[in-house]
C-alpha cells in the first residue's frame, strides 16, 4: 500500500515509521524540513518538503497513485482542506482526517470524510482509567 502522510509531528512520524517497517511505501510531507528529525532512524520512506494543501506539492509526493492519504497536521482546517483535495481532486481511495475539535469533526464526517478526534479518544481513555481506578478503590 502506498500511503502519503501530511504532517511529520509525533503521530505522523510514528505512523510513518510503523508502516515503513511493515513494508509499505510511505511518503511523509511537512512544510518544515526539520520536522523529519522525528522519523525513526533507518526510515526507508520518502521525505517530501511541501504543503499538503498545494496540488503540485501533492503531485510531487505521488498523490496520483497513492492508496491512502492521512492528514495529521496541527490544524483541523488544514487537515480538512488537504483531505478534500486528496479525496475530491485526486480520488485517493482512502483518506483519513484528524480533527481535534470533535464538533467540527462530526460535521466533516457528515460531509463525507473519514475523521477521528484525538480529543474524544483522549477523553475516553482518561475517563475509562478514572472509572476503573474508582471501581478498584471502591472494592
Amino acid at each position: 500500500m502506498k500511503v502519503i502522510i501530511m504532517g511529520c509531528g509525533r503521530v505522523g512520524a510514528r505512523v510513518a515509521g510503523i508502516l515503513d517497517e511493515k513494508g509499505h511505501t510511505v511518503v511523509v510531507m511537512d512544510v518544515r524540513p526539520d520536522a523529519f528529525r522525528r522519523l525513526p532512524p533507518g526510515f526507508g520512506g520518502t521525505r517530501s518538503v511541501g504543503n499538503g494543501m498545494d496540488g503540485p506539492a501533492l503531485e510531487r509526493a505521488g498523490i496520483k497513485d497513492a492508496d491512502a492519504f492521512v492528514a495529521v497536521t496541527q490544524g483541523d482546517n488544514r487537515n480538512y482542506f488537504a483531505s478534500q483535495m486528496a479525496k475530491e481532486v485526486y480520488r485517493v481511495p482512502r483518506v483519513l482526517c484528524r480533527t481535534y475539535d470533535p464538533i467540527r469533526g462530526e460535521l466533516f464526517a457528515e460531509l463525507g470524510l473519514e475523521t477521528f478526534s484525538p480529543t474524544t479518544i483522549g477523553a475516553k481513555i482518561v475517563l475509562d482509567l478514572l472509572m476503573r481506578d474508582g471501581e478498584e478503590a471502591a472494592d
Binding site: M53, D54, G55, P56, G75, D76, N77, R78, Y80, F81, Q84, M85, E88, V89, D101, I103, R104, L107, F108, E110, L111
Partner: protein, 224 residues
C-alpha cells in the same frame, strides 16, 4: 438581509462598512480581540469575538438564519471550512474569498459556485495595462460566461472583415467595438472591423482560446 462575515481583516471591515451602509444586518466573526475593538469602535456593535470556524460560535451568531455567509479570511482552508459549516447549518448562500487561485478548483469541487480571487482580479487589471496581452479578462459572469476584451492588430484574421464574416465559437457575442480613436459602436453583422479595434466579447469560459484564435490568430506566447 442578514449577512454573516467570517474574518474581520481589511476585506471584512470594508465589506461590512458597505453592507451596513446599504442597511443590511451584518455580523463579523473575528478571532483577534484588538481587531474586534477597532471594528466595534468604528462600525458599532457588529462583531462577535471568536473563531469563525467553530460551529458553536457560528451557531451563536445565528448562522442558520443567515441569508448570506461570506468568508474573507486570509487563509483558504479557514474560508472553506467556514463555508462548509455555514451551508450545513442552513445559510441560504455562501461566497468565499480565495487567496490562492490554485485553490479555486477545490471550492468548485465542493460546490461553492461563487468564489472571489483578489489575486486573479489584480492580475486581470495588470494585464489590461500590458501591451502584449491580446485577450483581457474583464468580468466573470454567472453560468460559465466570461466577458473579455480583445485587441485586433492589422494581421488579425478578423481585421478587414465584417462581424458576420467571422467564425466565432458558439454562444459568443461581440457587444462593443471601440476603434483606434476610442469611438464606441454597438456592432451589427455589417460592422467592419480593422486593426486597432478593441472588442468587448461575451463567451463561454472554455471557448476563450478558440475565440482568441478566431479574432487574434495563432498564439505565439512569449516569443512575440
Amino acid at each position: 438581509m442578514y449577512i454573516l462575515i467570517g474574518g474581520g481583516g481589511k476585506v471584512g471591515y470594508h465589506l461590512a462598512e458597505e453592507l451596513l451602509r446599504a442597511n443590511h444586518e451584518v455580523v463579523i466573526v473575528e478571532r483577534h480581540r484588538d481587531r474586534v475593538s477597532t471594528i466595534t469602535e468604528e462600525l458599532g456593535e457588529c462583531v462577535i469575538e471568536g473563531d469563525c470556524c467553530e460551529v458553536s460560535t457560528l451557531d451563536a451568531a445565528g448562522i442558520g438564519r443567515a441569508d448570506l455567509a461570506i468568508a474573507v479570511t486570509g487563509d483558504d482552508e479557514d474560508n472553506l471550512v467556514f463555508c462548509e459549516i455555514a451551508r450545513v447549518r442552513g445559510a441560504s448562500r455562501v461566497i468565499s474569498r480565495v487567496n490562492n487561485p490554485k485553490n479555486e478548483l477545490l471550492f468548485q469541487q465542493r460546490g461553492m459556485e461563487t468564489t472571489i480571487s483578489a489575486t486573479k482580479a489584480i492580475l486581470a487589471q495588470m494585464e489590461q495595462e500590458l501591451p502584449t496581452s491580446e485577450v483581457i479578462p474583464l468580468l466573470q459572469l454567472h453560468s460559465g460566461l466570461e466577458m473579455v476584451e480583445v485587441k485586433l492588430s492589422d494581421t488579425s484574421p478578423a481585421a478587414d472583415r465584417t462581424v458576420s464574416q467571422l467564425w466565432l465559437p458558439a454562444e459568443s457575442l461581440i457587444l462593443l467595438v471601440v476603434d483606434a480613436e476610442g469611438l464606441p459602436r454597438i456592432p451589427d453583422g455589417d460592422t467592419p472591423l480593422s486593426g486597432g479595434d478593441a472588442l468587448v466579447v461575451v463567451t463561454r469560459k472554455e471557448s476563450v482560446e478558440r475565440l482568441k484564435e478566431a479574432l487574434v490568430g495563432e498564439t505565439h506566447g512569449l516569443e512575440t
